[in-house]
Every structure is written in C-alpha cells, then in structure tokens.
C-alpha cells in the first residue's frame, strides 16, 4: 500500500485527530530507512524503553503494511484513552476549536496529496528540472500545512500525569504513540529554529524518496558533527543543576537540542546591520537604536512577544548534544535538562575543558565562570583535605567522601603536622605530601570503575 493511500484510508475510518499519529508512525519508518540517526528523536531507543527492542524492531522493519495496520489499531486504542483523559484536564472549547481547525487542514492536506499524485502521472514525461521545481513548491505548501496540523495536534495531546503503561496491552500502543509525539516536537523545534520551515520539516513527512534524500544530505551537513564523537570515554558526572526528582514521562515534553557551536557561542543575538553579537536580546535592542530612528520606537524597543500559546503549553526540556551522555536524548536512561542555561552549564562542565583557574589556590579549575566566582568566595576556607587532594569546606562531606572510596584517607594539614613535630622532622612531612600523588591516581581509576554504568 502506498503511504498516501494508507493515510487517506485511515482518514476516512478514524476520527480526525488520529491523523498525526499515523502520519508519524510512517515517518518513523522513514527515519529508520534514511538513517538520520543524528537528526532528531530516534524511535528505537524510545521503544526499547518500554519493550524488548527485538520484537518491536522486527515489527517495524519487516512488514510495512502490517505495521501500518497495527499502528492504526493501536493508536485508536490510545486515542480513546487520551480522549477520556483530556476531558478531565483540558478546556473542551479550545479542544473543539483545535479539532475543527485540524479537520480543515486535513482536508487541505488530502487535496494537496491528491494533486501530487495526479501530477506525478502527468509529468512523467517532462524534464526533470521542471518536475523538481514544481515538486519543491508543492512540498513547501504541504510542509507548512502539516506543521500546522501537527502543532495543533500536539497541543491536543494528553497531559503528562496519566500513566498509560497501567495495563499490559497498553505497552504496545505506547510504542507507537510516543514516537509520534517526539516527531511533533521535533518539527516544531525545527520550525522555530531553521530559517525556512519547509526545509527543515520536509523529511518528517512521507514523501517520494528523492526529496527525502536531498534533505538528508542537507541535514547531515548541519547536524553531522554529532556522530563523530567517540562514545568510549565520557565522564558521567551528575549535574548539580539536575532535575533528578522530575519524573516526566518520555514523550510528554518537547525536547530541544542545541549544537555544540551554539552552546559555546559567546553571543546569541546579532545585529543585522553591523553584525555585532550580544548575549542578551535587550542589549541588542539598545544597540539597534544607534542604527536609526526606526529602532527607537516603543514597538521596536518592546520585548518581543512570546510564542503562540499552543506551543508554550508543552513543557520544554533540553538535551545535551554529546552522544553517550546521560543528558543526551539517545541515552537509555535519558534525563532531560530543565532550562537552556542548565544545558549550557551542563555541557561546559561535563564536556569542555576547565579553562578558568582560581588565581588564589592555583589548583581548582572550572569551565563555567560563575563556578569560579562561587569558588573564589570560599577559596582558602576549605580546610578539610583528602589524601587525593580534594578539599572540602565541611568535615562531614570529607568523611562521606572517604567512606565512599577505597584508599582515601583524611590528610592532616601540613602546618599542623609541622607544629606538632618540630623542625627536625620536615623531611618526613614532605615525604608524606609527595605520597599523595599515587593515591590520586588510584582514585581516578576507582571512580571510573565504580561509576561507569555503560560500555
């Protein structure tokens, strides 16, 4: 069965808000085939989160039609569940208006696809260039409609709280529904981030292969850097800014992922006229005043409006671009980062060199400037010292650290030892301090041994 045919068939038999689910279950297949593993939300890991991966994967890969049927059935089941849930939580009026909007858009979409289908037959004889141009135009239209459909459908999604895994059969339907949800988010993400919305989104929609392939190249160029990271030697450092207590259901939130360059970029706002960069939007607006009176109007100086309400309803969470990191969305036990600042700090702390060194102790290094400043407030007050060289401001923290690791012991401060021993024993003391280093070495190997959970 052709993808578009299937889509139409389903549209006829199922309620309208089913559309996005099916659209994306097929898209899921598309991702598998075109191997954009680096692009957005991979389906595979998410599935294995709930089910043994072998089973699901075979169902995904082996028979497309079969899978489509399962998809429609299961998503229907799921939908009923969602519907009942939504009644409790959401405003029915906004739901109805969203549904009617969806209905309208679905009709547009169907017409457009019919048109494409018809055109394909017609233009077979024509030159490839013309065909490509026309198809590009159509694709752009199609894309924008689908984006609208999906974002609206996304806003209709059930809230986070209910747990669909309650009965065993729901597990399967979950596998299908969740990827869809990711896809919606991903599209929005691209929509907001990439200059031309149609360019970014087109991959997600079931389209003739050649379009997809074009885009794959484009995107791998854009996202390609990610795959080059080695997976072996990540340090698994838990973040202090973590939201450990948060138990967001995978898929119940939108995941955004910035690129390394974006994270490390000193400026995020640039002047369109002179190109100067700013950290804050407000600073850019202040700067813009110098470029002419038109930037001095209250409207130009006002804070830009927030995004549309439908988008802000979904919780946003951030993923670290570093592959293999627990904060990376592809990690088995992925833990998202709460804010963009959390993500930036996490990336710098965990995956970047520590470039800021404390000028007072010349020992502690930091990758986030704020951390250095915090440290400088307390530097010199850390009097509780471990044999591994780590210092603590509190004695109980030191003893907790020693209890945790083998071979670490409290280090008696040198001045205290000197005072008690007298001048004749200095040689001994320096011997004691030099002994610290091999222990330090042990410590590191221990940490890796004890904390590494993967590979």
């Amino acid at each position: 069965m052709d993808p578009e045919e299937r889509l139409c068939a389903v549209t006829r038999t199922k309620p309208l808000n089913n559309q996005p689910f099916i659209g994306f279950s097929s898209q899921q297949k598309n991702w598998e085939d075109s191997s954009f593993l680096d692009y957005g939300m991979r389906i595979e890991p998410q599935i294995s989160y709930f089910n043994p991966p072998t089973e699901t994967q075979s169902s995904l890969a082996s028979n497309f039609n079969n899978q489509a049927q399962i998809t429609s059935q299961k998503s229907y089941q799921m939908n009923v569940a969602c519907e009942s849930n939504r009644i409790q939580d959401w405003d029915p009026r906004s739901t109805i208006s969203s549904l009617s909007f969806l209905e309208k858009k679905i009709h547009q979409l169907r017409d457009l696809i019919h048109f494409i289908n018809g055109q394909r037959g017609q233009f077979t004889g024509q030159s490839d260039e013309l065909l490509v141009q026309q198809q590009m135009l159509i694709t752009a239209d199609l894309t924008s409609i689908i984006v609208q459909v999906m974002s609206t459908a996304g806003s209709l999604l059930p809230s986070v709280d209910h747990s669909p895994v309650a009965n065993p059969s729901a597990g399967v339907s979950e596998n299908i529904v969740l990827p869809e949800n990711y896809a919606v988010n991903k599209v929005e993400d691209d929509h907001s981030r990439v200059a031309n919305p149609s360019a970014g989104v087109s991959e997600n929609i079931v389209l003739p292969e050649n379009y997809a392939v074009n885009k794959v190249e484009d995107l791998t160029g854009y996202f390609g850097a990610e795959e080059n990271y080695a997976v072996e030697d990540h340090e698994l450092k838990s973040d202090d800014d973590a939201d450990e207590g948060e138990n967001l259901l995978p898929g119940s939130y939108e995941i955004l992922q910035l690129e390394k360059e974006e994270i490390l970029a000193p400026h995020t706002h640039f002047c369109t006229i002179c190109g100067k960069g700013f950290k804050r939007d407000a600073n850019l607006r202040m700067h813009m005043r110098g470029h002419g009176d038109e930037y001095k109007t209250p409207a130009a100086l006002a804070k830009p409006n927030k995004e549309s309400s439908s988008e802000s309803i979904l919780i946003k969470r951030y993923s670290c671009p570093y592959v293999g990191c627990k904060r990376n969305k592809d990690h088995k036990r992925f833990q998202p980062l709460k804010t963009i600042l959390c993500m930036k700090n996490h990336y710098k702390r965990s995956h970047c060199d520590k470039t800021y060194m404390c000028s007072r102790c010349n020992a502690k290094k930091f990758s986030v400037l704020a951390d250095l400043k915090t440290h400088e407030k307390h530097c010199g007050k850390d009097k509780w010292l471990c044999s591994c060289g780590t210092t603590f401001s509190r004695k109980d923290k030191l003893f907790g650290h020693i209890a945790l690791f083998q071979g670490h012991s409290p280090a008696i401060p040198v001045d205290e030892a000197k005072a008690s021993v007298g001048p004749s024993d200095r040689g001994q003391i320096s011997e004691a301090t030099t002994k610290i280093e091999p222990r330090d070495f042990n410590f590191k190997s221990n940490v890796i041994g004890s904390k590494r959970v993967w590979k």
Binding site: D396, F399, I402, P410, E416, S420, D425, Q428
Partner: protein, 664 residues
C-alpha cells in the same frame, strides 16, 4: 690445659637440643629471677636464654642498644617501666625487631612523636597490638602514622585527648584488620571518626567508645558490623532513645553491651538496641536510667544472659522478679548500691537463679537474714560474694555463708556485723583466694588459728582496721597461707615486728600495707625485705618506728619495689637516698616526713632514674630549683603537690569508739 678440660665432667645439657632447653625454660616463666640465674651459668646458657626470651620490659632506655643486641627474638615490648620512650628508641626497636615484633605497650610512656610511630608501623609488618593509652599529647599527625601498620588488630588509645576525627579517620583507612579499638576519653572524636571506623574496619570485634560525644549517627554503621562482640558505651550522653529509634535493628553478633551512665537511654532505647542480639551474654546498665518497671520487656528477649550489672540503679521488686523469671542461666549479678533491693527480691532471685556464681550486693542496706538464708540455700555454687556494708545482715547470717557455700573463692564482708563464729565458718571455705574483712571490728584472732588448715589458697587478705587482731592471728595466717600475695593490716595497732617476721615466710608477698601500725619497726620491715623479694607495693605511712635502717634493707633486697608511701615516717635524707638504688621505683608519696631536707629530696629525686610520679608537700615546691624540675620532667616524672595539714590525731573518725575494750 687440655688435660684439665678432659677431666671435667661433661654437662648433661650438652646432649640436649635447643628445643628441649627452650621447653624447660618455658616452665620457668613464672619467676623472672630463675631465668636470670639460668643465663648466668655459662655462655651457652646465656645465649640460649637470650634466644628464648620473647618479651622485653626495659627499665632504662639508656641500655636499650645492648638489650637489642642480646635478645634477637622479641615479640612483645612493654614500656610501662620506662616513662621516656623517645623516637630514637622506637626507631632502633623497629629496625631490630622488624620481623618479630608483635605487640608494644606505650601506655605509660611519652616523648615519642609520629617519627617513632611511623617507624614502628612501617617497618614492623607483624605488629598486631599497640597500646597508646594515656598519650595525651598525641596529635592527629602522629595518629596518622599508626595507619601505616596495616596488620594492626588491637589498638588502645584511651585518653588520647588531642586526637580528632582526622587522626582516627587515617587509622580507620589504614588499619583495615582492626579487631579491637579503644577510644575511651578521646573527647575530640565524634560521629564522623567512629562512623568511618565502622565503615572501613569490618572485622571489628570490640569497640570501646566510652565518654565520647557520639550520637546514633555512628551507631547505625556500628550495629551493622558482622563481627562485633563487645560494645562499650559508658557515659555517652549523646545517645538517646529518640536516636536509637531511628536505627533499624540491633547487632546480631553482640555479646557484651555496656551502657553504664548513659542517662538518656531508657528501657525503650535498650529494647531497640538489643533487638536481634540473641547472643548477648553480658549487659551492664550501671548508673543508668534503663532499669524501670518495664525493664522486664527487654529481659524477655535476653534469656541467654550470663551477666547483668545494675549498679546504682533504682531496682524494684518487679525488676528483680523479671530477672528471676527470664534470666535463669544468669551466672553473674551485680546489685551494688541498688537502693530498692529487699529481702523479698533477693529471695525470689536466689530461688530461680541456682546457677549464680557471682553476686554483688554491696551497700544493699535493706537486706537481712532472710536474703542471706535464701542465697546460701539455693546458690550453693557461688564463687564470689561481695556484700560490703550490708549493715542489716546479722552475725548469724554470716555463719550460714561459711556452712553452705563451700566453693566461695572471693568474699568481701567489709564493714559487716561479723563475729568470731562467723569468721570461723567462713574460713572453712577451702577455695578462698581473696578475703576482705575490713572494718569488721568485732573479730578477734582466737579463731584465726584455723585459717591455715583450710584456706591454703588464700592470696589476698584485707584486715583494714580490724583492731582486735594481734600477732597471734597474723602468725597463724603467715604459717597457714604460704601463697599470700597481698595483706592489708592498716591501723591494726597491736601488730608488732613478730607478725612481719612471720609474714616473711610468705615468699610470694607483693603488697604489704601496714599504715598506722606504731609497733612495727625497721626490724620487721628488714625481715620482709630480705625474704619477700617480690615486694612491689609498700605502704608504711605513719609507722613511726620505721627509720633509715628499714629503708637501707629495702634498698638492698627489694629490687622489685615499685610504689612506696613514706608519709609521717622518721626517715631522713640517708634513707631516701638509699631507696634511690631501687631501679624500678615509680611512685612515691613523701608527705610530712620531718627528717627530710629540701637538699636531701633534691638529691634523691635526681638519683631515682625511673620515677614517674612523686607526691610532695607543697612547701617543697618553692625550695626545689626550676632546673631540677625540668630535668625530672624530661625524664617523664610528674609532681603532685599536696597541701594537707599535719595530722596528729590517729583516730579522726572515731573508729575506736565501737570497741568495748578501749572504753573499759
């Protein structure tokens, strides 16, 4: 020359292998003099003896290098006679006995630092026991040096007041094989240090945390120790019921628990503390608040208890009933200074606890004849009975003890109503080793003559203020009890030199107290000194007839003398200087010795080499130059200054008023 040698009879020892001679020497361990004589026979004996010796108790560190050369096989070094143990000494010991040294006792020594300790800990890999008690100047840095002794199993650190969590933490990390650690009085150690020990040293069997400010936070890991058998928590006010409630369960392997003076642990806390401790056999709750009416609930779980100590607790009949009901296998019970002990309670307990071997009812003022009657009737296997100051117990009851409890080994009836009949009855207990009859004013020596017939095992006899005792009684004791090691005849003012001359037959005598015996003179003391070579403790305070002659004979013969009290004696500078030749002398009390001048004391102080503690009258403080003090302190000697007025009255508390013969 050669012919002469051939004619000499060949010593039979030539044919004996070294192992056999070692075995023979093993049997001579009891008396140090015999081995000394053995080693002086010939060169080969000297060498055999020096290879046989396993333990060393040096007197002066000056000779240590020669000692180390002579004895190569030392396992145990005891520095208790050596107040000064400097780093150099410890370093030379650790290099000499690198592979043999197993244990070292530095509990009475000072002046060593982390250099000496780290040398011991680092070089002597076989070191398993280390006693650092009373090292009040030991710092964390020095304690950290101990951590290098990886094989250490027993460590005593009582009164190491400067050691904090950091030092203890180093030890916990370094000495993983620790089985015993005593941190009593290490007041700077808190939950963190103790907790780390419990987490790192999993083989701990015995833990003494008395007088520490610890809380339940460190108890949690302690109670999870799989090997823990002994837990001593005397006076830990930081541990309370609230905290104990947070602990999940008690320690299963625990056998001995001491929570004496823990006022914040009631029976509720005790209940959770012993939860699951099925092997608990010894429980001490002295001076605590755990013994209440509900105490029975705890005892219900402790049917295997062998010993309970309830000293100073408010005991009621219900408590006693619970003990009788639940602790049938009890062998040791202490109700010392318990205010609520009645005849009813004692009788109930006595009927149930027929296996009881040791009973302490000191200062139970309410018990009477009925208690003693029931105890003696059912607990016939009693080996120890302490009943000092049970003033309501009549004379007839004491007679019952001697008649019924024939296996008594230890008996304390100080300050009781006992007459000659009672004494005669008690003296029939042939197993008696220790008998205390202090302040039993009514006993006379007419019945003491039988003492030798039965009590041949007697080692310890206390006749403090038994004023009716005369030479007749003492002579009988001296003849009948050859094993006597300690005798106290303080204030037995009718005792004369005859007694001492007779007592000099007891060759094992180690402690002699004849305080306030005016009829004793230097003649008697000389007899003791000449014969009783083992004498270590001597109190001749207020013996107004013992003078320099006595001191000279002591100096000549009693080389083991360790402690002496000379107060109020007519001893002069000559006598004191003579005593200085006793090399083991450690403690001296010299108050109100009118014959002494400050120069004499000065000379004597400098002459004594091993002195550790001197009690002097405060008037001498200004007369002794500062330089002498610094020399003495450098040797490890401490001074205690007393400001007591001179006592002329010999009977300040009116002890004699009870005696009819003085009234008449």
């Amino acid at each position: 020359m050669e012919g002469d040698q051939a004619l000499k009879p060949i010593s039979p020892f030539v044919f004996l292998s070294e192992e056999i001679i070692f075995t023979i020497l093993d049997c001579l361990d009891e008396d140090p003099q015999t081995k000394k004589s053995f080693s002086l026979v010939c060169k080969s004996f000297h060498s055999i003896e020096s290879h046989h010796r396993k333990s060393l108790k040096p007197l002066y560190i000056e000779l240590i290098s020669r000692i180390l050369n002579r004895y190569p096989q030392i396992h145990h070094v005891d520095f208790t006679y050596c107040p000064r143990a400097e780093d150099e000494v410890l370093v030379s010991i650790s290099s000499a006995y690198r592979s043999t040294l197993r244990s070292i006792n530095l509990s009475r020594s000072r002046f060593f630092t982390h250099v000496g300790l780290s040398s011991l800990a680092g070089k002597c890999w076989g070191l398993v026991e280390l006693d650092l008690s009373n090292a009040t100047e030991l710092t964390d840095a020095q304690a950290a040096a101990i951590a290098e002794a990886k094989n250490l199993e027993k460590l005593w650190m009582a009164r190491c007041k400067l050691v904090s969590d950091m030092g203890v933490g180093c030890i916990a990390v370094g000495c993983k094989k620790l089985r015993l650690i005593c941190l009593k009085w290490c007041v700077r150690v808190t939950d963190l240090g103790v907790g780390l020990i419990a987490r790192k040293c999993k083989d701990i069997q015995s833990l003494d945390l008395s007088y520490l400010l610890i809380t339940e936070k460190c108890l949690a890991p302690i109670l999870q120790l799989q090997q823990l058998k002994e837990l001593i928590l005397v006076e830990c006010p930081g541990i309370d019921d609230e905290g104990i409630r947070t602990l999940k369960e008690g320690c299963k392997s625990l056998e001995v628990l001491n929570i004496s003076k823990c006022h914040n642990i009631s029976n509720v806390g005790l209940f959770s503390l012993i939860n699951g401790a099925e092997r608990l056999s010894h429980l001490s709750l002295a001076y605590g608040s755990a013994v209440t009416a509900d105490f029975a609930k705890c005892l219900y779980k402790l049917s295997g208890l062998k010993s309970i100590k309830l000293d100073g607790c408010l005991v009621t009949f219900s408590t006693m009933k619970a003990i009788g009901d639940w602790c049938v296998s009890l062998k040791e019970l202490s109700l010392c200074k318990c205010s609520g002990v009645t005849d009813e309670g004692i009788s109930y307990i006595a009927q149930r606890l027929v296996l009881l071997q040791k009973l302490d009812i000191t200062c139970c003022q309410k018990i009477t004849y009925a208690s003693i009657d029931s105890i003696t009737k059912s607990c016939t296997t009693l080996t120890s009975l302490r009943m000092e100051a049970c003033s309501m117990v009549p004379e007839e009851a004491i007679v019952l003890i001697g008649q019924r409890c024939q296996s008594l080994e230890e008996m304390d009836i100080t300050d009781n109503n006992i007459n000659d009949a009672g004494l005669e009855s008690i003296l029939r207990c042939s197993e008696l080793v220790s008998l205390k009859l202090g302040v039993c004013l009514n006993i006379t020596d007419c019945r003491l003559s039988s003492v030798g017939v039965y009590c041949q095992k007697l080692k310890e006899l206390d006749l403090y203020r038994c004023m009716a005792i005369t030479d007749v009684g003492i002579t009988a004791i001296a003849n009948g009890c050859p094993a006597l090691e300690m005798i106290n005849m303080a204030y037995c003012d009718q005792v004369t030199d005859c007694s001492l001359i007779c007592l000099s037959q007891c060759l094992q005598l180690k402690a002699l107290e004849i305080r306030g015996c005016p009829c004793v003179s230097s003649v008697g003391l000389s007899a003791i000194a000449t014969n009783c070579k083992q004498l270590t403790v001597l109190d001749i305070k207020k013996c107004c007839n013992i003078d320099d002659t006595g001191m000279v004979s002591l100096a000549r013969c009693s080389q083991y003398l360790k402690q002496i009290n000379l107060s109020y004696c007519p001893v002069t500078d000559v006598g004191l200087l003579a005593l200085a030749s006793i090399s083991r002398m450690q403690n001296m009390t010299i108050l109100h010795v009118t014959g002494l001048t400050s120069n004499g004391i000065l000379a004597a102080l400098l002459a004594f080499r091993g002195l550790m503690k001197v009690k002097l009258h405060i008037s001498f403080k200004s007369l002794i130059p500062r330089s002498v003090f610094s020399v003495m302190e450098h040797r490890g000697c401490t001074f205690h200054w007393r400001n007591k007025a001179f006592q002329v009255e010999t009977d300040p508390k009116g002890w004699l008023l009870h005696l009819p013969r003085h009234e008449g």
